[in-house]
Amino acid sequence: MKQFISFVKKEFHHIWRDKRTLFILLGMPIMQILIFGFALTNEVKNSQIAIFDQSNDAATQALRTELDASRYFDVVQDIHSYPEIEAAFKKGAIKLAVIFPENFANDLDHFNTAQVQLIADASDPNVANTLTNYATSIILDYQDRITNNRRLPYTIKAEMRMLYNPQLKGAYSFVPGVMAMVLMLVCTLMTAITIVREKELGTMEIMLVSPMRPFKIVAAKAVPYLLLSIVNITSILLLSVFVLDVPINGSLLLLIFEGILFTLTCLAFGLLISTKTDSQQTAMFIALTGMFLPTIMLSGFMFPIENMPLPLRVISNIVPAKWFYYIVKEVMIKGLGIGAVWKETLILTGMLLFLLVLSIRNFKIRLA
């Protein structure tokens, strides 16, 4: 035990001396949460739009007010000819143009149908899509209100309810994603690098010649990063609850338990990398391509797995982050208990054991 403690102390000295890395390790989750929370959001607010109103009647005035009043749009320009529309788009002054033809209210009154044209800047397709959807739903709302006065014979109304995330906030999906990413980075990358560094320095040799058992060496290496990860999990959760208003609907204890399980899996992977490589560069390269990229691409955090071709869907199953991401979403956002995620938890545990056995075996082979 004494050996173990002096080893852990030494590891903390290393981490503490390297202030820059420490700052990155602790600051990264905070930065990422804030960047994702405030900058990289799919929500579109206060988009600048122009209106080309050729009718200028009660109905178009009402629609204009509705659009301007919503938090998605600001009417910044009134347009009086088609060439002006193109000019405004080219200048980048507007993202959407709404065009009412002549006799809009008149058509609506007499023919029960009127047309409105939406022109969006699709150089960013996602934004264009979102904007036209918002505008359409505002227009439909208006239509609903006026048809209430004169009953139509048949109407089907779809009523939507967004469960678990009624405001459709992006934060609900990226908080679990950032958590997976940060833990992966801290644990896999850092363990791999710190063990390989000892090999490069020649200090690993001294350790192996000492009576300290290899298993203890590895465990002592892992302890500081496990603690760092717990600090990171805590700061991510605090930020998401108090800054981004993402609630923790499920059990906090379960969430932390799953976080530690995932952390250990990452540590074991880092250990495996370190047994296979002899230079810090190689270790870093393998950790980044082998773990970090799949975590971003195949965990379902950035791109929905359901839409991927079959081979990628199959491969995504061996990415630990996929399961962790799923668990965190179920527990944190949906508020489900262990009953709902025991299968995923078991899969993660299996991965942890597999990686541990594999890396400890490799560690021993190197000694013989």
């Binding site: 050996q3 030494k10 020649g202 040799e205 001294i206 000492s210 009576p211």
Partner: protein, 249 residues
């Protein structure tokens, strides 16, 4: 077989990697308190032999005991009884002198009282009291080397293995370093040292020279020079190494 006066004993010790025989049935004996030079060209099998004696590698065949413990079954006891220092000096540059000492003493499971007392003694001995809380990074190479040696024998091992301990160090510092080795040997520690410098071979009590995995010569430096009709150890080494069929790595 192992008498009380023997630190290391090897009998037909062999290590094969597939078809390649890295160490070919070497036999030798190192007495307690002796400074034993373990010479050989690169690739002659020195490191492999040393790894077997340190308990890092299991021999393919043959017998060997270190500090009275069997290299097959008692590697744990061996590790407890030996010290080890390599060419890289193996100190942590981002730790202070004191932290390095405490760490290495710690992994040998020494008590706090022992560490405290001996650290103070060691710092005085090395004239490093003023630098105790400075990072090792800031020390000159020669001091790092002396510190590394002191750390390797801090836990008072019976035998210390030195793997090319003077690589890259200037002649004056090397001389000082050898004074430390003599002092350690006088206190009863057996020194097992590999080196490339033939003038250093002259400082050893006895020297073995490995060629192609075998020990081709083993005697006192004076006797070796007589046997090979050479004026210096350098000449002895060259005469033997020329026969080597394996190229260095």
């Amino acid at each position: 077989m192992t008498t009380n006066n023997t630190a290391i004993q090897a009998e037909a010790l062999t290590k094969r990697f597939g078809d390649f025989t890295a160490v070919d049935a070497i036999s030798f004996e190192v007495k307690k308190g002796e400074i034993f030079g373990f010479l050989g060209a690169n690739g002659a099998g020195k490191t492999t032999a040393m790894r077997m004696l340190c308990g890092l590698s299991i021999p393919t065949s043959g017998k060997a005991s270190v500090a009275g413990f069997d290299v097959y079954k008692q590697t744990e006891q061996i590790k407890r009884s030996i010290g080890y220092m390599s060419q890289k000096f193996s100190l942590y540059e981002d730790l202070t002198v004191r932290e390095n000492i405490r760490f290495y003493a710690g992994i040998y499971g020494k008590s706090d009282a022992f560490i405290k007392e001996k650290t103070a003694f060691l710092l005085r001995e090395l004239h490093l009291e003023g630098e105790a809380n400075k990072l090792v990074r800031s020390l000159p190479l020669g001091w790092k080397q002396k510190l590394a040696f002191s750390v390797a024998i801090f836990h008072e091992p019976e035998i210390v293995f030195l793997d090319e301990p003077t690589g890259g160090v200037d002649p004056v510092t090397r001389r000082e370093f050898w004074n430390m080795i003599y002092k350690a040997a006088e206190s009863g520690i057996t020194i097992f040292v590999t080196t490339h410098y033939m003038d250093e071979a002259e400082y050893c009590n006895r020297v073995s020279i490995m060629v192609d995995g075998r020990i081709d010569a083993l005697d006192t430096p004076a006797q070796l020079k007589k046997t090979f009709e050479a004026r210096s150890m350098d000449e002895v080494f060259l005469k033997l190494a020329r026969k080597a069929k394996r190229s260095g790595d």
